[in-house]
Amino acid sequence: MKTGAKTLIEALQREGVDTIFGYPGGVVLPIYDELYDSSIRHILVRHEQAAAHAADGYARASGRVGVCLATSGPGACNLVTGIATAYMDSIPVVALTGQVPTGLLGNDAFQESDITGITMPVTKHNYLVKDAADLDRVVQEAFYIARTGRPGPVLIDLPKDVSTGQVLEGTPVPGTVSLRGYQPTYQGHVRQIDKALDLIAGAERPLVYAGGGVVLSEASAELLEFVETAAVPVTTTLMGLGAVPGDHPLNLGMLGMHGTQSANYAVTECDLLIAVGVRFDDRVTGKIETFAPNAAVIHIDIDPAEIGKNKKVDVPIVGDVKAVLQALLRRMQKRGDTANWVARTGAWKAQYPLRYRDDDRLRPQYVVEQLSDLLKGEGIVVSEVGQNQMWTALYYCFRKPRTWITSGGLGTMGYGFPAAIGAHYARPDMPVVDVAGDGSFQMNIQELGTVAQYQIPVKVVILNNMYLGMVRQWQELFYDRRYSYTELPPVDFVKIANAYRIEGITVEEKAGVREALETALATDGPFVLDFRVEREENVFPMVPAGAAINEMIGVRQP
């Protein structure tokens, strides 16, 4: 006989789990005791939310399932924000939570919470295991569900008596997962693919709108080949950055609320929109009625529920983005005459580059540009949420998929720093930089303890403007500069870092940016850079809420 906890650990090892991010507590003690002897590395975070974000960052950087572990009640509840973040961006995570013994379930026992009930809206699926004999099957199903189809988080709730329960040694493990209610479609329908090819051959102004689905399905090479073969300009969402090299001539950059002028104009004028692994998010489309108003729409997505959800689609193709792009390439015989259109979009790009006032002041865009110049795409850049995120999205040149990690759907402040920890364990060969705002960084600043303990070489680049910058920007533009509760007092982040025995530099002048970044990147361990940037710098271009995406402010008008 072996315990449920041992069964669990063995099941995790069968799934290839090498790292778990977690925080111990009463009812997970049997699991922690088993972990103590196991080959699985456990990273002790300082708050369970960070465990969930780290598992998510691990998954995004590696393409594998990230795993986090927390105790019951408050521990489990603290995972929720991280699980919801992963859910909104379709990230494969398995969250393990402890639960009070089955006999106490529903009794409001100490540290009890109905975590399967709480996480139902933010998980792809979840389990409450009531019998240790189910553990092998449940773990196998959970990983399968998390990583297949449209990926997403799965939670497994483990009552204490299940972890201590006995499982017969040598119980056979189910060979394959069989779920009659879950059968994702991977291959696109051939007739739909041919219909799409007809539209592509006849289009004069086609545009590819690519998103996170391209990254999730490892379809970057296919997308690039498609874009080049069909000679179609491409714009990516925030989640799609890096899916196509940022400096590729056909890449118009990001579209949407903070999209480039060339991308947003191209969407507005295209006659065919080829939407690949995207979900027509409102931050992308602006006013939906005026999004790609003259275009026929092809939508490729593995989740049928995304097709037609926000925008009427002419040719729906349900399937894995990679498989569908391969089929499109295989069957393509003729491409449209797009030379004029490619020239036109290219001219927009030249005419309306991203710009900011590059004077002698320390501006956040400059910091990001210098970072981009130093890393040359050979690093993983994680962001927090807000202005720091948009400046990074716009001014850093992402060249490869899985080198950009950000909370797109939920927009979770405090995400970046713990996600960077996860990214490091996924890709220890790559430098990992968290671009932060002073507001976001303070949301999970306690993880300095984690990076100090394990000497995790994450570099934190704080674009410190002593504001909740993006909210302040909205107040400036739409609330008559009434900065209601968005000002943050000065914080000496380097002193805080030092208290955790982490090195840091405060930079107040533009002249010091390059050297500070070089010093941080050359340091073996963690490093905190506090850039005191221009306080009221704004993110432009910007589409005001409710406007059409070609109605941008902060730009040179055509």
């Binding site: 399967t116 009930g117 209610g181």
Partner: protein, 167 residues
């Protein structure tokens, strides 16, 4: 906007109803009625949901329901030939005398059964489509309805066709 009758075949597991109903409320789908119970196979249940919405809403209802791991099959029975029934129990005030006789007469016309007789009340059981039960309810209201309970609609396709797991 018209009511659609959606038949959902699900795994018979704890929490499945909550997953389905929770998804409906969280996405703002308007449930008119919901009935659930075991079906022909021991490890499955069938949920019948009547939901209001335009074509776009119903399409999302079907797709989002189908996305749930425990959902095996979803069918919209509205445009197809189907039998639809619900059941109601109505406790109606019935003092002895002419009103009691009238109620019994109405029950007879509606093929409702008297399932309980009290000194001051009758409990009627009626099955049929929603309109029939509405009509009976309206007629009985004048005598005073003390309590009323309806099951929600259940439905099956006519003929040999079935809503079964195709997987």
């Amino acid at each position: 906007m018209k009511p659609h009758t959606v038949s959902v075949l699900v795994e018979n597991r704890a929490g499945v109803l909550s997953r389905v109903a929770g998804m409906f409320s969280r996405r703002g789908f308007n449930i008119e009625s919901l009935a659930v119970g075991p079906c022909e196979e021991p490890n499955m249940s069938r949920i019948t949901i009547v939901v209001n919405g335009d074509d776009g809403v119903i399409e999302q209802v079907m797709k989002q329901t189908n996305k749930l791991i425990d959902v095996i099959k979803v069918s919209d029975l509205t445009e197809r030939e189907s039998v639809e029934r619900e059941l109601a129990l109505i406790k109606v005030a019935a003092e002895t005398g002419p009103s009691r006789a009238e109620i019994l007469q109405i029950a007879d016309i509606f093929r409702a059964q008297v399932v309980d007789v009290g000194s001051k009340t009758l409990v009627l059981q009626v099955t049929g489509d929603t309109e029939k039960i509405d009509a009976l309810e309206k007629l009985l209201r004048q005598y005073g309805i003390k309590e009323l309970v309806r099951t929600g609609k259940i439905a099956l396709l006519r003929g040999a066709k079935t809503v079964k797991s195709s997987k």
